[in-house]
């Protein structure tokens, strides 16, 4: 029907990019006191981007094996 990994991969890649960028722009903001001084946006953003890309990569790999 459709490979569910594509929408998952896309969505988390978008989340990852957005949140990482937001984290970079707010790097000096006081709001990270809440999160014990850690810029969790950059950390989680990169984790989500990696997860999204892995999902997309898996779906591409499967497509290739199906074609062969």
């Amino acid at each position: 029907m459709v490979d569910i990994r594509i929408p998952i991969g896309l969505m988390f890649s978008i989340f990852g990019i957005l949140i990482t960028l937001f984290g970079l722009f707010t790097i000096d903001a006081g709001m990270y006191q809440k999160s014990l001084g850690m810029n969790v946006n950059i950390i989680m953003g990169l984790i989500m981007l990696a997860f999204g890309l892995i999902m997309l990569w898996f779906s591409r790999r499967k497509k290739k094996t199906n074609q062969n």
Binding site: M1, V2, I4, I19, A29, K34, S35, V40, N41, M44
Partner: protein, 575 residues
């Protein structure tokens, strides 16, 4: 206690909604017949259906309730993720799924019809339909009130929008859309709650820090590690914060309630029915069971940390209190923790995780409701039989769609009733959920004993249900202030806590149901011919053997061993 959201938080929510609706939109062209719409065409890969299986279980009430329960009772809440889930899940996968899937039944009530008779199916179908509507109404109410109190959103707007989004994607893409979205929701819930668990643990100084902090706030007479133990203090009801003893946990929760819920609740089992093959269907519950065992880290541990925070004025953390009795409202634990630790950005993700958990639970209810309504009520009792299979199928597709709309509207109505008469709705839900234990007794006997007859099953089901309701009417938990908690018929026994009352209700209902069904099976006539029972009863069905050509860990039994071993190790680790 308001949480301020920035544009980025709202943007994340909007992107999530777009994807959820987009999946429904994309799948709509595959919805050509009732089978595709209501059963996802039996085409789902095991891992997709497996994650949907656990996601449908991970509704908003589950996430909010279990986190709150962590703050209230500590690690003992993990019983619901280990003994209260895994044995039941393994049993479903290995022993029951071959009969469910092999019978080609489209729902649990339909299995009852194939194995027993029409009346047993009817009883179960009607009780189940009412229960799903109640459940989705109550969770919708809980979510909307939370969003109103904490985010300042309008209660009505929140209720209608979240319900209409669920309606849109289940209407467009049916069960496939519900399942695909449940997979997305699963990942959002896990990833969205990850930073919370991490930061909360870091704040109290890791696991070792949590141990010392929790020991300092553990009230007398509990042992210092009572809030971090599961089985250790279940020797007596007064030694552990949950107020239950090992017998009730092991038999009531582990054997009866868990098997009743995981093996017979169509909302859950339907995900496995949608799998692409019998082997895949057997793997579905096991794949769902794997992440289930680790969810306590994300849901319960933050709840326990909330208990530490509440007792430390320097942290400035508190739960809102109930104005009528001044006690903290534990359901707010998770959202107050999100507010405590997450800055904008990941905060939006955390709130989206809560919304996702709500939607997965609600879509699960709606997609189970429309199937049971269409096949077990409408097709069986309302529509006249015709001989045109093709026209019939198109007709049932439309009925399924209408049932989806009706299901959502009824849920909204029940949410409004819940906001006016919350106690009555909780009460009704408690009563209707009492069908699970007797239902498990009847299905279990049907699958493993060919002598079980339809009349016996029907009476057994009814008797177990009535006994459970009577038990609720005659007993009450200590300190109950309303008759909704029990004792509305009289007062025979007092349980230390409500949970013990539930465990015992399940044990008694299951025992009565089993004895009545067995007893009556000897004196009533078997109406089903042996040939009709083939594929439905263990002794009349060729036994399952796993395909030897796939590696052992990819076979259902191999997977079951892996899940079982992890279960035992985790149980010992948090003993």
């Amino acid at each position: 206690m308001k949480v301020e959201l920035l544009w980025i938080d709202k943007l994340i929510m909007i992107i999530y909604f777009i994807f959820v609706l987009g999946i429904g939109w994309f799948l709509r062209r595959y919805m050509k017949n009732a089978n595709a719409f209501l059963e996802a065409g039996r085409s789902m890969p095991a891992w997709v259906a497996g994650l949907a299986f656990i996601s449908a279980n991970l509704g908003a009430l589950e996430v909010m309730g279990m986190c709150g329960s962590g703050a209230k009772y500590g690690m003992m809440t993990a019983h619901f993720y280990l003994i209260g889930a895994i044995p039941g899940i393994i049993f479903l996968a290995i022993f029951m799924m071959p009969f469910y899937y092999g019978s080609k039944a489209r729902s649990v009530p339909e299995f009852l019809k194939l194995r027993y008779d029409e009346k047993t199916r009817g009883l179960n179908a009607i009780l189940f339909a009412v229960m799903t509507i109640l459940a989705s109404g109550i969770s919708m109410y809980a979510l909307a009130i939370l969003m109103e109190k904490v985010l300042g959103w309008d209660y009505n707007l929140c209720l209608w929008i979240s319900a209409l989004i669920v309606l849109a994607y289940t209407y467009l893409g049916g069960l496939s859309s519900a399942i695909y979205n449940e997979v997305i929701q699963f990942f959002i819930i896990v990833i969205g709650l990850m930073p919370l668990a991490f930061l909360a643990l870091k704040d109290v100084g890791g696991w070792a820090g949590l141990k010392t902090h929790i020991a300092a706030v553990t009230p007398h007479p509990y042992a210092p590690d009572a809030f971090l133990s599961t089985w250790k203090y279940t020797g007596s009801t007064s030694a552990n914060p949950m107020g239950v003893e090992w017998f009730g946990v092991f038999f009531g929760l582990g054997l009866v309630l868990a098997f009743g819920y995981w093996c017979t609740n169509f909302l859950i089992v339907q995900r496995a029915f949608a799998a692409e093959s019998k082997t895949a269907a057997r793997k579905v519950p096991l794949i769902g069971g794997l992440p289930k065992m680790f969810l306590p880290v994300l849901i319960i541990v933050p709840g326990i940390i909330a208990l530490v925070l509440m007792n430390d004025p320097a942290k400035g953390f508190s739960l809102p209190t109930d104005p009528t009795n001044g006690r903290p409202i534990y359901d707010y634990t998770i959202i107050m923790l999100l507010k405590q630790y997450l800055p904008s950005g990941v905060l939006g993700l955390g709130i989206t995780a809560l919304l996702a958990s709500f939607m997965s639970g609600m879509a699960g209810n709606v997609s189970a409701f429309n199937t049971v309504w269409t096949y077990d009520i409408y097709q069986s009792y309302i529509r006249k039989r015709t001989n045109n299979a093709e026209a019939d199928d198109r007709h049932y597709l439309n009925v399924g769609r209408i049932a989806t709309v009706a299901g959502v509207l009824l849920s909204i109505a029940s949410a409004y009733i819940a906001s006016k008469f919350g106690n009555i709705m909780d009460f009704l839900q408690t009563i209707f959920s009492m069908i699970n234990a007797p239902l498990f007794a009847v299905i279990f006997l049907g699958m493993f004993w060919k002598r079980t007859t339809g009349h016996a099953a029907f009476i057994g089901l009814l008797a177990g249900f009535i006994i459970a309701v009577l038990h609720h009417g005659l007993t009450m938990p200590a300190g109950a202030t309303t008759l909704f908690k029990g004792g509305w018929l009289g007062h025979v026994h007092t349980y230390p806590v409500e949970m013990a009352q539930n465990f015992w209700a399940a044990i008694i209902a299951f025992t009565i149901s089993t004895s009545v069904t067995v007893g009556l099976s000897f004196v009533t006539k078997q109406t089903k011919a042996v040939d009709d029972l083939r594929g439905l009863v263990y002794s009349l069905t060729p036994h399952e053997t796993d395909d030897r050509n796939i590696p052992w860990y990819k076979r259902p039994t191999g997977l079951a061993v892996i899940v079982g071993v992890i279960f035992i190790v985790l149980t010992i680790l948090i003993w």
